[in-house]
């Protein structure tokens, strides 16, 4: 039986974690994430959640403990924000390369100095290269639903990558909204116990994880993370549909579109600001502006092909970036620009991924790269393409 409660975004996270039957939580307090971990602590202490809660001494340890727990095969969770997220950054990388299906809530907050506890997305964007699936919610209902869907996607054997659910500081984290809490039986069916993958620490099978890998194989392990990301594009869509079937709710899949079909002006945005943009669209349309909103529900994997398709049918694009890469520009702006590159001319770009983990790049390799690109150009290839150079296909399944 589902019920409706008036919840803050942070409490919606806690409810999502409870419904997902998470077994180990490790977290350290930081404003504005604190009420997530307070609520979970309450659930655990009053016996509503059958879980172990480690109140660790730092975010670095929070992610480390979450990794440790996940490596034993249980479902694990943490939550953080801002400075805390940056402090755990080293371990964020560790979790994804270990392919552990952890879910983390990130309450997106500005970075210091100067001290600011208020909202922006830079802390989250700093994780965009780490190999985590990254989704940003528009409202508190989506927060709860995304936590549950994230476990389902992350634990799928074709994905096996951790997920971040981002929610805007205060705008969602501390704002009350009505949230429908699905019945536990419904979620138990949707989210069965976690399969023991990709490995578990088990005395019956004494494996070593994460020791030294020479240049012979390192690059292929990195490529497999990218494969997981690619597979996630499909799973995100499938899981969103399935979730809609059982709950009736649809928040979008990789993207969430609002009045895009006839739009001549497209607003591209992520997170809670999208709600504001949708209201603005209604006002603007009354004024005669043909505007639509393309909300990026996921920024990793980046919905490149959808962005390219939507952008190609409009006359102008507005991107609202709540983050910045100093010396580079707006972060979503750069991703959007690279997605649409080549759709109206420009030279062929081959983006070679080469030399990871110490694999040699010699003069002969550079020659081959150039020759390959010239051949592609001569055969009429256009746009931008990412190529993994000299990948050992024979060692991949």
């Amino acid at each position: 039986m589902s019920t409706i409660k008036i919840l803050t975004g942070n409490y919606a996270v806690a409810w999502g974690v409870k419904l997902s039957r998470v077994k180990v939580i490790a977290a350290y307090p930081i404003t504005p994430q604190t009420t997530i971990v307070e609520k979970i602590a309450e659930f655990v202490e009053n016996g509503e959640m059958d879980a172990k809660y480690l109140m660790v001494e730092s975010e670095h340890s929070a992610m480390a403990a979450t990794i440790g727990a996940s490596a034993t095969g249980v479902r694990a969770f943490t939550a953080t924000s801002s400075q805390g997220l940056l402090y755990m950054h080293e371990m964020v990388w560790w979790a994804s390369a270990a392919r552990l299906p952890i879910v983390m809530a990130v309450v997106m907050r500005a970075l210091a100095p100067p001290w600011s506890i208020w909202n922006e997305h830079t802390d989250l964007m700093d994780q965009r290269d780490t190999g985590w699936l990254i989704t940003l919610a528009e409202n508190n209902q989506e927060v709860l639903d995304s936590i549950i869907m994230s476990y389902r996607i992350s634990e799928h054997e074709d994905v096996l990558l951790p997920s971040i659910v981002g929610l805007d500081a205060f705008i969602l984290s501390h704002t009350l909204e009505p949230v429908e809490i699905p019945g536990q039986d419904l979620i138990d069916e949707f989210l069965p116990p976690r399969p023991p993958k990709p490995f578990t620490l088990n005395p019956e099978n004494p494996i070593t994880h994460g020791g030294i890998v020479t240049p012979e194989y390192y690059m292929e392990f990195r490529y497999l993370i990218e494969k997981g990301m690619e597979n996630a594009r499909r799973l995100i869509v499938e899981v969103a549909k399935e979730y809609k079937n059982i709950t009736g709710r649809w928040h979008g899949d990789l993207v969430d579109e609002y009045k895009c079909s006839d739009a001549k002006i497209l607003i591209i945005v992520a997170g809670a600001t999208a709600g504001t943009c949708k209201e603005a669209v209604d006002v603007l349309r009354e004024k005669g502006f043909n505007v639509g909103v393309l909300r990026l529900r996921y920024i990793r994997p980046f919905p490149s092909s959808i962005v390219r398709e939507r952008v190609s049918s409009v006359k102008s694009v507005v991107i609202i970036d709540r983050s910045y890469s100093f010396g580079g520009g707006g972060i979503i702006g750069a991703d959007v620009a690279s997605s649409i590159y080549g759709s109206n001319g420009g030279p062929l770009i081959h983006d070679y991924i080469a030399g990871l983990g110490g694999r040699d790049i010699g003069v002969r390799e550079v020659e081959r790269i150039v020759e390959e690109t010239v051949r592609a150009m001569e055969s009429g290839e256009k746009g931008i393409k990412t190529l993994w150079f000299d990948l050992k296909r024979e060692v991949l399944e």
């Binding site: 077994k23 180990v24 034993t72 994460g210 020479t214």
Partner: protein, 312 residues
């Protein structure tokens, strides 16, 4: 086997003959000849047995375990970032507990850098929380894996590649820092007295909560002595009084039996006999040696006082 009174755990002494014949550190691994870390880990496997999960942060043991796809360690092993060993182990222990698996030893095997320097925050957190893990620091008194740089565990006077004229500060007393967390079991050990280390591991495994063993691990490469002398140097460190072997069981300090005679100064070998065998100390002046000797004598005065106080 565990007795809750203040006297602590009593177990039958272990005999060499009874040790597990199974090897958990497999031969043909990349450790240097005479490596104390390899030997210590080998003993750890024999004592704690197959129901043991290891967590290893960046250290020489990241190398000793071999190169993908082969591992020289026959225990489940999770490699983890330098600062994260104790907290990762805490998470593993919590994961097992959540699944009702109570018979698995979760053990951190970390070097001195990963323990007394970069790892200290996570250790302090796990110790304060009482996470159910055994933390073993194998202390080779410098960052050996990266090329013999000074650590907080490097002793006074020692040459390293970042202290060319000898370290000017004293070795950090990590076991005492852990004792201050009021954990059930803390012990010091030396690779020179490996059966004593074995007993302490066994005892640590009988307690629930955070257990800490600090194992002195003389490194032939970094300390500049021939590889056949690892055990000999490890024994001299103890018999000169530089590295006292003791346990703090539920808050009660106990000098290990091997060290009882050392309470009398005349039974302690002068520190020069230890220092002169190691290239890392060859630049020491007479006054440096005297300072080290004075420091050792003072340390033992303190140990005697501590034992007398306990008796009162």
């Amino acid at each position: 086997m565990v007795r809750s009174e203040k006297r602590g755990v009593r177990i039958m002494p272990l005999r060499v003959m009874d040790l597990d014949k199974e090897e958990y550190v497999l031969p043909g691994n990349p450790s240097c000849p005479g490596c104390p870390a390899s030997l210590g880990l080998r003993m750890l496997g024999k004592v704690l047995g197959p129901k043991t999960v290891l967590v290893i942060p960046a250290s020489c043991s990241s190398i000793i375990q071999g190169v993908y796809p082969k591992s020289s360690i026959k225990l489940p092993l999770l490699n983890i970032a330098f600062a994260a060993a104790a907290s990762t182990a805490a998470g593993i222990a919590a994961g097992f507990e959540a699944q009702g698996k109570s018979d698995i030893n979760v053990v951190v095997w970390a070097g001195d850098g990963g323990t007394v320097d970069i790892g200290v925050q996570a250790i302090s957190g796990a110790a304060e929380r009482g996470d159910n893990i055994i933390y073993v620091c194998y202390d080779n008194e410098a960052y050996m894996n990266t090329g013999i740089q000074r650590s907080g565990a490097t002793p006074f006077g020692a040459w390293t590649t970042t202290t060319w004229t000898g370290k000017k500060r004293w070795k950090k007393d990590m076991p005492s820092i852990v004792v201050a967390h009021k954990v059930p079991y803390v012990a010091t050990a030396s690779i020179g007295y490996i059966m004593d280390f074995a007993e302490k591991l066994r005892k640590a495994s009988k307690y629930k909560g955070f257990k800490y063993i600090h194992l002195l691990a003389p490194c032939p490469v970094g300390w500049r002595f021939p590889p056949n002398k690892t055990i000999h140097i490890g024994r001299l460190a103890v018999r000169t009084g530089l590295w006292p072997l003791y346990e703090v069981e539920q808050g009660v300090f106990k000098l290990s039996p091997i060290c009882m005679p050392l309470l009398k100064k005349e039974n302690r070998i002068p520190v020069i006999e230890y220092l002169k065998l190691q290239g890392r100390f060859k630049h020491l002046r007479e006054e440096d040696v005297r300072r080290i000797q004075e420091e050792v004598d003072e340390l033992w005065d303190n140990i005697r006082r501590k034992l007398e106080d306990a008796r009162c």
